[in-house]
Structure formats: C-alpha cells, structure tokens
Subunit: 331 residues, 2 copies
C-alpha cells in the first residue's frame, strides 16, 4: 500500500449522483478499462455513502484485473457546490450534505490522491477533453436531467467564477412568472425543461384528460412521474401526440437558453448531455439548434457548433478521470 | 507629421454613438486633459461621419493645448459588431454601416495607430481599468441606454468569445412571450428595461389615462418618448407614481438579468452604467441589487459586488483610451 513506484497511469473516475454511483477505471490514453455501479443510498447518511464510493472504486479496479496499488489518482464529480482545492462538498441538497470533507475522507481510505469537482463541470471537461479532443477554445456543456446544470470551459480549462459556482444555468430565468421552480423562483430554465418539468407537464395534462400511451405502460400503482426518459422515447416512436408536444416545448426552452448563452458568452461549442438528452437527442437536438440560432443575434452564432454529447452516462466518469489526471500531473 | 520621436504618452479616446461623438485626450496616468463633442449626423453617410470623428479628435487635442504630433494612439468605441484586429465595423445598425474600414480610414487621416472595439466592451474596460483600478479578476459591465449591452472582462482582459460578439446581454430572453423587441423576438432584456422600453411603457400608460408629471413638462408638439432619462429623475423627485412604477419594473428586470449572470458566469463584479443608470442610479441600484441577490442561488452571490459606475458619459472615452494604450504598447 502507498508504494507509488508501482503505480501506472491508471486513473479512476467516479460519478456520484443522488441515486447511483458509477466508477470507471481508465488506462493510458484515457481508455476505459472497466466500470462498476452501486446505488447511492443517500438516506443512510454521509459515512455510508463514503463507504459505498470506496467499494464501487475497488469493484471497478477489480473488474479491470488491477490492484489499487496501480491507481495513480481518483477524480469525483459530485452534485452541488464544491471547493475543488480542498475536495469539500460545501452544499449538496440531493445528498443532504453540508461541508462534507469528501476528498480528504476518500484519500485516507483509498490511499491515493482524490480530486473533487462539481458534476456538471466534470461532464463538460470530459466532453471537451475526450469527445472533442480538447480542440474548442471555449465550450458550454448543458446537462438536462432531474435538474439542469452546466460546465464552462474557457481557454481549455474549467471556469469556476468568483465563488467556483459558475454554470448554474438551470436557474437562468427564461419566463418571469412562469412555473414555480424548486429554488423558490419562477420560470427558471430547470422549471421549464428538466425531466422533472417534463413529467410534471405530462402528468398534469393526463390528469386533465389528455390521451397518451404512457398510461398503458404504467405498472400497477406506478405514477406517470415514476417513468423514465427512455419511456418518453418509446411513446414518441408510437406517435404519442402529448409527449411530442411536451418534448417540443422543452426543446424550445432549451434552445432559448442556448441562444441566451450564445448572445452573452459566445462560446465556440455548446454541447448538450444528461439523461434527458441521452434518451431524446434525436427528437430534441434539431429543435434546440433551430431555436437557438433564431434567438441568437445576426452573426453571433456563425460557426458555433451546437452538439449532443455521445458520451452518454460515461461523461461523468470520463471527466472525473480527466480532472484527476490533470490535477495529479500538476502536483 | 509622423515623427514618433516627439510623441508622448498622450492617447485620444473616442466614444462614437448614434447621435453624438465624444473625444477625450488622456495624459500619463490616464488623466483626462480635455474633451470635445460633435453630433454624429449618421444620416450624412460614412465619409461624413469619419470626417466628423477626425474633427472631434483634433478639437479635443487643440482644447488640451497639444498638437496631433504628440498623440501616440487613438482608441474608438463604436456601436455594433467590430473586428478589433482590423478595426472594421462589421455591422452597425444605428449608423447604417456594414463592413466599414473605420480603423484604417481614421489611421490614414490622423496619421497615428487607431484601435476600434465595441462600445460596451470599451466601457467595461474603462470601468475595470480606471474606476476599479484593474483589481477584479472578472467583471461584467451592463450598460442601459436606448439599447442594452454588456462587456465581459475575464482575467483582466476583454473576453470577446468565438465571434468577438460576447456581451449581447440585451437579447437575453427573460420573459418568453413578453413585449416585442427590435430584434424580432419577444421578452428580451432590452425590450423590458432599456430607455426605449421605459418610455414605451410610460407613453402607453399615459395614453390609457394614467396621470404623470411628465405630461406637464412636454414642450408643444413633444411626445413622452422625446423626453430624456433626466426628466424621469425630476418626475420621481416630485413623487410621480407612474414613473416610480415603471422604473421599479425596469430595475427588477435588470436585477433578474444580473441574477442570471451571477448564476451562469459568476463574475467578481457586476457594474451598471449607461444613460439610464447615470440618471437614475439612486432610484434603481438598490432594487437591482436586492432582486439579483434574491434570484442568485444560495452562496453564488456571496462577496460579489453589484455597483453603479461613477464614470458617467466618460466611461466610453476612458475605456477607448485604455484600449488604445494597451494595444499600442503591445505592438
């Protein structure tokens, strides 16, 4: 243990979510050698989750036929506000954590350097460094899931802003007086186009009598809001008009948000990812792009790429591995 | 002419607007030695405006008891999309210019290096470098006038983005389906809080029977929309309820835009300027700041300063001088 002389360029990237933990082992050239998955069980409290992250990391290392002595560093993307210098999770409502010394605790147990960053930042880093081979000088990655967040890359590096909280695009107000958001305000992007917002609109419409195939696939006792983004894709393939209308509206709001970002920050690339996009990019991307280009001022969107990430649920572990490799090399 | 050996560290900064040209002569330490002003007369066409800018620059130099041989460089802030490398004005709807080689033409006539940038970028640079002594690492300067624009400073330098058009904050959608904007979309920040939007709302309300002191100060044949931001300040001092309501709404929309920017980019300082703020900052700043902090996510606005610029209508000439001094020194 702790003998770094036998350590190779093996990095573990961890995506810590509110419901599941995903760990990936990456070899030279950031090739993914193996992954492991565990549920988060946030309700069991901080110590239990730390133990589960460790276990998931060890499972992934074992899956890759390696030993933990061969691992050079671990990177973690965690939901919420992070202090990347200390590895502390300052505030993570999903996990009910406040000022949790995650980096320090894991480094102690795993006996390797551990680096922590916000999950959306890590995803943006993964897309930029691996999927786009580090080419764009500036990039905004928007991730649509239960919530909506973004990561900003400027000059090839993560941009954190003054409080290291940059990228909170989910709470960009697009429709003053619009639907209530979890944050207490109204008309935030997240209240208009997240999975939560999409299922709220579907559920309300069905309750008000709208017809939808979604009702047919519900298990006994299951509510529409219990369904997954993949179920929406299936309903769309069956020509479900209600789902089509709701997804189109979410894509239009996303396009307006992308237009706002192009007008304001003018990044070289805007990339879209997250569970909603992974399931529905064929249905949403064209609408998002057309709307964004319509809302961008003359000339401002010329040559700017609007893409859907192909990394899927590997964006987080990939980005976490990129983060750890950069930081451990800079040490 | 052209003998640079006698040139001192004298810089001329020019603020080219749709209605007026302001030129300022700056000595060592960017002390403003003298200014001159001419109307733009954009309707006379490009060549006439270039001649007027030259004349305004020469007037300012003469006013400072200097000769043009002593001027090291000229900087210009111009409305619209600019190519700062060539000095071309790509597109300036206010002036009805397209692909105008402003920098080159002026350099020829004035026989000194001329540097051109977007007017809001130049104002942000002036506020950052002179008013805030270059201290904030990141700053967004929002300028409320006939339109609304912004300049972004990151790591102490102007950030232009991929197409050098970053800062088009006036067309950030805040209220989908809101009032029609000049750009063709609806609910843009500029359609909610610019001088144009404020006077549109006042004029509509008065036409619909609302009472206001503004009606009493109209000259014969003058419309409410012909009044100036300073007239609103006078009406507020008289307790004008209509003006109060409209200004409060504009300040709230501005606060929401500032909140969006703090959530998304998280700059160290947000500074507000432009004609509307210069006239009404005592009435608007507190509302803008309270609204922005309310819309910013927990922790994201901590320590971030929200200020009104004290440079007034000198922001443009000051920033243009900063620009020219930096660029000529880098040559």
């Amino acid at each position: 243990m702790g003998d770094s002389s036998v350590r190779q360029d093996v990095i573990v990237g961890v995506d810590l979510g509110g419901t599941k933990i995903l760990a990936g082992v990456f070899g030279p050239g950031l090739k993914c050698l193996a992954t492991a998955k565990l549920s988060t069980k946030a309700e069991r409290g901080y110590d239990a989750v730390v133990e589960r992250i460790q276990r998931c990391v060890r499972d992934a290392i074992d899956e890759a036929d390696l030993s933990s002595k061969q691992v050079r560093a671990v990177g973690i993307g965690a939901p919420g506000a992070i202090n990347p210098s200390t590895g502390d999770v300052l505030f993570a409502p999903n996990l009910r954590w406040k000022d949790a010394p995650l980096g320090e605790d894991l480094a102690k147990f795993l006996d390797v350097p551990v680096f922590v960053e916000n999950d959306c930042n890590v995803c943006a880093l993964g897309v930029h460094a691996v999927e786009l081979e580090g080419k764009p000088r500036s990039l905004v990655g928007i991730f649509l899931g239960t919530g909506i967040g973004a990561g900003i890359i400027l000059d090839g590096e993560l941009f954190g802003g003054f409080n290291r909280t940059a990228g909170e695009v989910g709470h960009m107000v697009l429709d003053v007086g619009g639907p209530k958001c979890g944050c207490g305000n109204r008309g935030c992007f997240e209240a208009l186009a997240s999975r939560t917002a999409i299922f709220r609109d579907l559920s309300d419409a069905i309750r008000d009598g709208a017809k939808s195939h979604l009702v047919d696939i519900l298990a006994p006792g299951e509510a529409v809001t219990d369904l997954k983004s993949g179920d929406l894709r299936k309903a769309l393939r069956k020509g479900d008009k209600l789902v089509e209308k709701v997804i189109e509206a979410a894509a239009e709001y996303t396009g307006i948000a992308v237009g706002n970002i192009i007008n304001f920050l003018n990044p070289e690339v805007v990339v879209l990812g997250g569970g909603v996009m992974d399931a529905l990019q064929d249905d949403m991307l064209a609408i998002i792009e057309a709307t964004a280009r319509d809302y961008a001022m003359t000339g401002t969107a010329d040559g700017i790429q609007i893409l859907a990430s192909k990394l899927g649920d590997k964006a987080g572990i990939t980005g976490a591995a990129v983060l750890a490799r950069r930081r451990v090399s800079a040490k």
